[in-house]
């Protein structure tokens, strides 16, 4: 406890202060009322995101550019938490931050595969950099050189010396045979979550408990959605489903994943894990519309888990972790809003996609 107090006094205070700076459901509702993208950006400039949007010129007001700018806030939060976190918890935060690097890596690989179909005069790298998370100096992947290398094989060779080298060396054998990015992306995902989970297991005491609760909940969400999607959309076999999922988490057990893989009724398994989720069976009846809704509900479960972390003993890694996850969810909401305003979607089309609703208060 004493070490917790010493280690977390400053960080917990900072996490609480940053938590207070997150947008409220009321703010989100106000932002939703913005008539168009410039108005939304104008309103965002009066929020803590203002600092990241102030340099944006009118002619740069594209949804991609705005999203890139607001993501800088999350990057800054990670950098700040990593800097202040106690030594033993830093690998966990760094690994969690790598989630965005894995996303960047996937985006780079996808761009290499599709670059030949681009007709624009803009250089491929200039197009790709706009969709990448602003990882800054933390990044270990040579993204620009990869995009410019022009082929998946050459790009993956540039990953030598990075944390992705080993797993990609295995996955590339399958890519060479199948010429499909699916095995590469699955391998990256599995590797990321395994490493993250092992970092959680390296912690002790309250840190480990809170890490397992928050990271485990996030892992549950992903694991469950993977197995359901692979089963319904990709029609994968039982052994493939098992190999493409993970046997750990907070609520979702290996038995649950294996039951779905073996053909058990998905709705009853999900309802058993999350008894409070409403209408799971009807959601899964029409998967194309229902699965995104199920994912939405599961994300809200994780958000509730994060919010509840701010009640009680603050001297553990839970607070900063919860803040970072909530901040990420908030940015996901803002991305929805920005895209919606940019595409001039009607309110009833985008509002249901927002995670931060009054229910979350």
């Amino acid at each position: 406890m004493a070490s917790g107090v010493f280690g977390y006094a400053a960080l917990s205070t900072r996490a609480r202060a940053m938590y207070a700076d997150l947008l409220t459901p009321h703010d989100m509702s106000r932002l939703s009322d913005a008539p168009d993208l410039p108005a939304l950006v104008g309103m965002l400039k009066n929020t803590p995101y203002g600092k990241y949007l102030s340099g944006l010129k009118d002619n740069e007001l594209t949804s991609r550019r705005v999203i890139l700018q607001i993501r800088n806030r999350l990057a800054a939060s990670y950098a700040s938490v990593v800097q202040q976190a106690p030594e033993q918890t830093r690998p966990l935060i760094r690994q969690l931050f790598r989630y965005f690097e894995v996303g960047n890596l996937k985006a780079v690989l996808r761009s290499i595969q599709t670059v030949s179909s681009w007709t624009s005069d803009v250089a491929p790298w200039d197009r790709v950099r706009e969709v990448l998370f602003p990882f800054g100096t933390f990044s270990s992947i040579p993204a620009q050189a990869m995009v410019e290398s022009g082929s998946i094989v050459s790009a993956v060779e540039l990953l030598r010396g990075t944390p992705y080298e080993t797993i990609m060396s295995f996955a590339m054998k399958r890519y060479s045979a199948e010429q499909n990015l699916f095995p590469l992306e699955v391998a990256l995902d599995l590797d990321f979550w395994r490493r993250l989970w092992s970092e959680v297991k390296r912690l002790s005491g309250k840190d480990r408990e809170m890490g397992a609760r928050l990271i485990g909940s996030l892992l549950d969400l992903n694991n469950l959605m993977w197995v359901i999607r692979y089963k319904i959309y990709h029609k994968l076999s039982e052994e493939e489903l098992i190999n493409y999922t993970l046997p750990f988490g907070y609520r979702v057990r290996d038995e649950d994943v294996r039951a779905i893989a073996a053909g058990a009724d998905i709705a009853s398994v999900v309802s058993r894990i999350y008894p409070s989720l409403p209408n799971v069976a009807s959601l899964l009846e029409y998967p194309i519309a229902g699965l995104p809704q199920l994912e939405h509900l599961l994300k809200q479960q994780v958000m509730r888990q994060c919010v509840s972390t701010f009640i009680g003993d603050p001297f553990h890694i839970g607070l900063p972790l919860a803040y970072l996850l909530l901040s990420d969810f908030e940015i996901q909401d803002l991305v929805v809003l920005i895209e919606a305003k940019s595409s001039k979607l009607r309110e009833d089309e985008f509002r249901p996609l927002l995670l931060k609703t009054k229910l979350m208060q």
Partner: protein
Amino acid sequence: MLFPKQMSEVELIVPAKDLVAVTRALSGYGVFHQVDSAYLGVENAGPNTWQEKAAIYSALERRIQSVFQAVGLAEEYPAGADIESLVDLEAVIPGVDRIEADVKAVTDRLSEEKKRLELLESQLRQLEPIAEVDVEVGALQRSEFMHSILGIVPAANVSRLRTSLLRVPHVFFILRPDAQKPVVWILGQKSNFDILERAAKSAYLNPLSLPEEFSGTPEQITARLRHEIDSSMGRIAAYESELAKMGVTYKSELQKLLWDVHNSRVMADAIIRFGQLRHTYVVVGWVPTAELGDLTTRLKHASREILIETMATDRAGHHSNVPVALTESKWLKPIQMLVGQYGHPSYGELDPTLLMAFTFPILYGAMFGDLGQGLVLFVLGLLVYNKIILKKGGEGVRTLSLLIAYCGAFAAIFGYLYGSIFGFEGHLIEEYLGFHFEPVFSPMENILSALSLAIDAGIVILLFSFLLSMINNIRARDWAHLLFGHAGITAFLFYLCFLALAFGGLLGTTALAPKIAVALYSLPLPFNILALVFGILVMFGGFLRNMVEGHELIEGKGFGGFAMFIIQSGMDLFETVISMFSNTLSFIRVGAFAVAHGGLSLAVFSIATLGGEKPGIGFWVAILIGNGIIILLEGLIVYIQTMRLHYYEILGKFFHGGGMQFEPLTLGTSRKDT
């Protein structure tokens, strides 16, 4: 020193013919912070070839860097090189092509040979686990009823692979355990061939690829593989030596190419952010006003037709777009590091570095007052700073060591005042160290006075912080916050009334009472009425600020109407009173730690004398260990407390941060070299 450097906005109209010379003048001096002004250009002003050029320079620079890496040279620039102009691509590309082709011919062969060696070694490793098996490897593949898979799988996937095979009968062997790439062998019925293959494939199992030319038993194959590996290693050594020779041959040419291309790339990157007009370019940026004269001369030297417009930027108002250049001083670097952790000063506000340079070591010293221990910290800090010890410590360690030296120096000064040397105080000094040392003020013997003095010091610092906040507001011409801000005039006057009533009146008769508050209370002023008046002003501060600024008077009045506004204002006042109380009392820790230091030293002394009153070797060892623990543990805690006092009680009053850092264009050389 007290404020960030005065900045001037510079707008240049540069004739196209002088573009490069002007860019060189802007980039080479390290004083120009460029602002992207491409949007100021007109559309259809002609093809903008600079984007393309910048991309080519960038790609060329990376190619040269790759060659440096391939030949094993460190990336260095030629000695005494000067920046002439943008290098002509047609002149350098053939050179880069030639060297790259020469080097690539060898590196390709080297890389191929390395791949072959890797394959051979992998095959050898794969065979090692079955080296003892006296069967032909090919026979396993040709079985009629059994399906066999031999291969390498990611270690993390082994357990999942096993689980995925549970529904079919099989045997699973880990032939060679490895932390990352174990070799596994799966054997199952031929009828389950598809399940076994799908499971292996989805677990990313890479089947062993033994070359057909290596037939026979594992032992025979292993012997042949070892021979091949030896030959391959010989070839690799030869290629590497050839590359090293190329490094020597091409060194100076590569350095020159890198220098030219790097600087050209920096300048081209700068140019693409200029606004392109028909025959001219618009350049916008910021320069420290003190450097403006020199820069103007250089620019006029670079182009006689250049138009230069400069605007010194007033500190009034909000300038989130003005980059902030702070005064550089190696002696203030540790304090700038502390300030930087809180925030980068914005353009209009006071840079708290100088204030903290005084208050931080003083507060630290007051809490950790010990002549001996302070000197230990001081010397230790200087030794690390001068790289006499911890030579491999980076710049961060050096900066921290300088801070430790400052804190140590003040701890020693306060130790002298407290009469404390390595925990020995009063008669103990005479008894054990053999000389007389009279304290000026001993916290241990005047505990309540020490605490009261600490609160007094806190009050002075807080009042000073209020004044600094007001100065900031005056300079920013932010009259609303000057009058009604949380550290504005009304809040300041309310704080004075609060001090007089709470600390001078209520606590006035106790030994804890701070002298300043008592003196205030003794003034013939109606503090009750004044507190009420200023309290109401503080309570409705938000309303009054909105009134001065001409904003909507009651923010969010839709939520609960006027009643909610009154409740919120009441809560604001309550919060202000609580924070004034806690901010003031917070400084009591300075006195408390000064006392605790004496107490901790006494505890060490008591432990040391457990072996008897007469000081033997055990006594001095205990004193030594005890002092070590005090320096490490208490030194750290006091550091945290000092930081806390500054971040929460002092800086929060007048410092907001959030400024943009000054990042000037710089070529690969220093200003002096240029």
